[in-house]
Amino acid sequence: MTSVAEKTDQGTSPVPAGASGVARRAADWVRRAPLLPALVFMIIVTQLPFVATLVISFMDWNAYYPDERGFAGFDNFRRVFTDVNLRDAVWTTILLTVGVVLVSIVLGLGIALLLDRKFRGRGAVRTMMIAPFLVVPVAAALLWKHALYNPEYGLFNGALTWVGKLFGVDRPAQPDWITNMPLWSVIFALVWQWTPFMMLILLAGLQGRPLDVVEAARIDGASGWQIFRSMTLPHLRQYLELGALLGSIYIVQNFDAVFTITSGGLGTANLPYTIYQIFYQAHDYGRASAAAVVVVVGTIIIATFALRTVSSLFKEDSGR
């Protein structure tokens, strides 16, 4: 690091020996300058609001009762920790995130393995697979809610009627999907959108696999399963971790699907939706902020572990 700094010093201006400290500091600022706009922007737009959230979380502040605004101490936090809805929301968020990430990674891995072979129309199948990810999330959620899950004229029950007719069943089952399994309805719709994402990352990982080694193992008589277990899977590990991490970041925060498909009803309200409700419908700013602070603290704890994963990936990568 220092050697590079000295080199730039020499390159720009010959400095008298006494002023070298000043010159180095100036050179450091020249280095930092391009970074500053982005850094300052991020601190103002993302960190300052959190400070405000922290302050508001200790206040009595409900837009419906403007006269009662004031200091509340830990009241909001007490209400947050005793709120059954919020506790349920934590659980729902975990189920939703783990469910979607796990299922879409397993499916994505299977499909990536299928697409890693040469066959007629491979490009077409890949293109078809990507389509779900390119539908705007709200549009996708609406599509699932009304055009697929609808008990009267949705495609799922329509297909059941059609298959029933084919086999001569008079009254085929016509389940009300969203009412019968609300959380799974949301999970399925999200899995449909996120499997392509996992598939794309894992397929890229598979295609970066050193093929000569695999070929050598095959010549030595290793079975397909052995090759997969001891060569493909270890190679894919970092791609699996990357997919899981990025998928979790986005699905933990999911609002669109929950809002659209069930409107948070039937036990599907996750944390973002619940906080949105406390803030946007109950207008209880103090309690919403306290909930947000608790979620942020929880996220920081989980994210510390997640970031450790990324930084270990990152060390392998930056051996340049």
Binding site: M129, V135, H146, L307
Partner: protein, 288 residues
């Protein structure tokens, strides 16, 4: 060469084994691909059906095609054009801002790195992990005080902050591919910064910039939560416009599918046109 026949026979046998299951695996791939694209195809097909044909059970696949749904969507009620234009403005302007801010930042994190540049990089990523909903309330209160509610510029600022961390990560990974020798050679020749940027760095990172822009555009275009809270009638974006279909009753399926298709069209077109860029972008540039 003839000595090798023995070892060459083994892969040939394995090849034969593979060939037998091969067609079935290809068929499976096709079936799965069709299952995944089916809801999208169904959306497009339904959007060209009449409302009566769209609401049948079993589905009327071969019903006559019509533009009724589109006509109803564009001229039936509130016009979708202002929300679509708002979305376009917010996505394009915020993407441009993100590129303007992230390129120099990535430069200072890769080509001429500042001290502790990894810490800075992880600071950017950590902002993505904090729940956006926690920053929503103070932004809303600020906007209310400052009279910025229902103003597209507020969304632009927010979308810029939402995509900036991703862009910094991607740009850094693309910029770190610029060969050091070329940079040294350029500085040895006394090339100015602008000349180095234009003739050494730009050719290497242009595809990376395109990937970054694509991802930022898609994420801004898709965003719902902030747009819903911070905008009303004037600055409403296309996803917010779509939420009017959440609780609609009666025969509206064709119109809904037309709306969903129209709103998704820019993302579908951009994404299909740049499939490889999509992978690069989604993996924050770690998949090349």
């Amino acid at each position: 060469m003839t000595v090798n026949t023995d070892s060459a026979a083994a892969p040939a046998a394995a090849q034969k084994r593979k060939d037998r299951s091969g067609p079935w695996l290809s068929l499976l791939a096709w079936v799965i691909g069709i299952l995944f694209v089916l809801p999208v195809a169904w959306m497009v097909l339904t959007s060209f059906h009449s409302e009566a044909d769209a609401a049948t059970n079993p589905p009327a696949v071969f019903a006559p095609l019509t533009f009724e749904g589109y006509r109803e969507f564009f001229t039936g009620g509130a016009s979708p054009w202002p929300p679509l234009l708002n979305s376009l403005t917010a996505s394009v302007v915020s993407t441009a801002l993100v590129l303007l801010l992230s390129f120099p930042a990535a430069y200072a994190l890769s080509i001429k790195p500042v001290r502790k540049w990894t810490d800075v990089l992880f600071f950017f990523l950590s902002t993505k992990m904090l729940p956006v909903v926690a920053g929503l309330l103070p932004l809303y209160l600020f906007a209310q005080k400052a009279g910025l509610l229902d103003n597209i510029w507020l969304l632009i600022v927010f979308y810029t902050s939402m995509n900036l961390p991703i862009a910094v990560w991607m740009m850094r990974s693309f910029l770190s591919e610029v060969p050091v020798e070329m940079l040294e050679a350029a500085s040895m020749d006394g090339a100015s910064l602008t000349k180095t940027l234009r003739s050494v760095i730009a050719p290497v990172v242009m595809p990376g910039i395109a990937a970054t822009a694509l991802i930022c555009f898609i994420f801004s275009w898709n965003e719902l939560l902030f747009a819903r809270v911070l905008t009303a009638t004037v600055a409403e974006t296309a996803p917010v416009f779509l939420t009017s279909f959440v609780t609609s009753q009666g025969l509206f399926l064709a119109q809904l599918c037309a709306a969903a298709f129209v709103v998704s069209l820019p993302v579908l077109v951009a994404g299909f046109a740049a499939q490889d860029k999509l992978v690069q972008g989604l993996s924050l540039g770690s998949v090349k």
